[in-house]
Amino acid sequence: MIKKRGNKGAIEISFGWLFAIVAGIAIIFAAIYLSSKFIQVGQESIGAQTGKEIGILLDPLETSFESSQTTSITIPSETRIHNKCEETGKFGRQFIQLDQKNFNKWVKTDVDVGFNNKYIFSGKEVEGKKFYIFSKPFNFPFKIADLFYITSEKEIYCFDTAPEEIKEEIFKLNQSNLFSKNCPENKMDVCFGVSKCDINVNYARGYVEKGEDRMYFSGLGEDSTSLMYAAIFSEEAVYECQVSRLLMRLKETSILYKDKELLTAKKGCETNLEGDLIALSKIDSSSGSNGLVTLKMTVDGAEEKNNARSCLLW
């Protein structure tokens, strides 16, 4: 009980009340702290699950002999996909980290979902509710991997100056944020031949310029545009890291083909590619997209020699 003591205005609080107030405050604070932690863990697990699901959803998009595949993902709440790339180990690593908007506030999750065999090209941060993903194979000279390009429905790209084959491909992809003609406003211009746009592509010399950044691309045959799209949709740091990872995989795949050539030689097949494959297995993968230009000659030579064989190696 609270009592007024004497006539000096002092208030006497019984020990029972004092204890109840202190203990009550402690319990309420503990409850608030625990429930906020609980909500945070819940949101982190949702972020991690969604990240893992995005990674898993990329598997069906891997191409067999199609030239490209496309799909879209819609996430119920506004989401930021952080595209992180590391060049560690034999193959480097791809990480996806998701932040989701909750009560109009971005909730950061510290859980990274990692993959060794995925190559995602996008900005470092892609924001939106609906995301478009399309994939294309990358052959150099044999198939190295499928490349995935993630864009948000908010990012609009205009390809109205592109060569006809690229316009046709963009049209076939049927993505509502990629335009080959009648581009809307608030778009990003992807220019071919004109050099004062948001993104400038020098198709003949094999590079894409975004402001001060220049990213080189290369490839073989029908899928020679795979890295061009990668450079268009990516930030420079992501692009260079992913190209280095692709070169890491090229090195390891070359070793497999070198061993396969030795095995098939016992059955009477030719052994004309050993030198090229050894050269490819010793390339400097850290050179990034710059290295592609010098590598192209070796790759073209290997492709030519493979096509001349009676038993094709790839």
């Binding site: 029972g16 609980f38 697990s45 898993i56 598997d59 067999s64 009477g268």
Partner: protein
């Protein structure tokens, strides 16, 4: 004096009652919290298993077309779900490099026809029926599998020819629960 002692005793009992009540209420809320936490943990465990199984299922349907396994154009035109046996033996030799690459712990290929229970080594290749690429000694989720054609180059008096057999590609993810 006697009255004061009695009043103090009564107050002490009240305080003890209150402490007891507060502790009971506190433990009650902790128990309720633990109950919900265990439900949430169970759901998390279930979704982790579901994601692992879903991942394996989708991976197995595409693994045969990945560069390390696929036939490419080596046996004529591109084929879906065609595994290059010669390349697979090269992959088996370099399996250590790829131990973490696909995020699974078991990758195995079994010839269905002609069936054979002999594990493939470089000495008995190609007269064998089981090729283990990854075989980590950990607790695994159930296997996911896919039927594939297993092709290789063969020689006869007529020259080099392509030989394809029916096989089953099996993969399993680690059970982390």
């Amino acid at each position: 004096m006697v009255r004061k002692i009695l009043t103090n005793k009564g107050a002490q009992i009240k305080i003890q009652q209150m402490i007891f009540m507060i502790l009971v209420v506190f433990f009650f809320f902790i128990l309720v919290g633990l109950f919900f936490l265990s439900i949430a943990m169970n759901n998390l465990k279930k979704s982790s298993i579901d994601l692992g199984e879903k991942g394996s299922m989708l991976l197995v349907s595409k693994l045969a077309n990945s560069p390390e396994f696929s036939c490419g154009n080596a046996f004529g035109t591109s084929r879906i779900n065609c595994i290059d046996f010669d390349k697979l033996m090269a992959l088996k030799k370099n399996a250590g490099t790829y131990s973490e690459f696909w995020g699974v712990v078991k990758i195995e290929l079994r010839k269905i026809y002609p069936e054979s229970n002999i594990e493939c080594q470089s000495a008995n290749y190609p007269t064998c029926g089981i090729i283990k690429i990854l075989d980590k000694n950990v607790k695994t989720l159930p296997y996911s599998s896919n039927f594939v054609s297993l092709c290789r180059k063969e020689t006869s008096e007529a020259g080099i020819y392509d030989k394809c057999e029916l096989a089953r590609l099996m993969i399993a993810s680690q059970d982390r629960t």
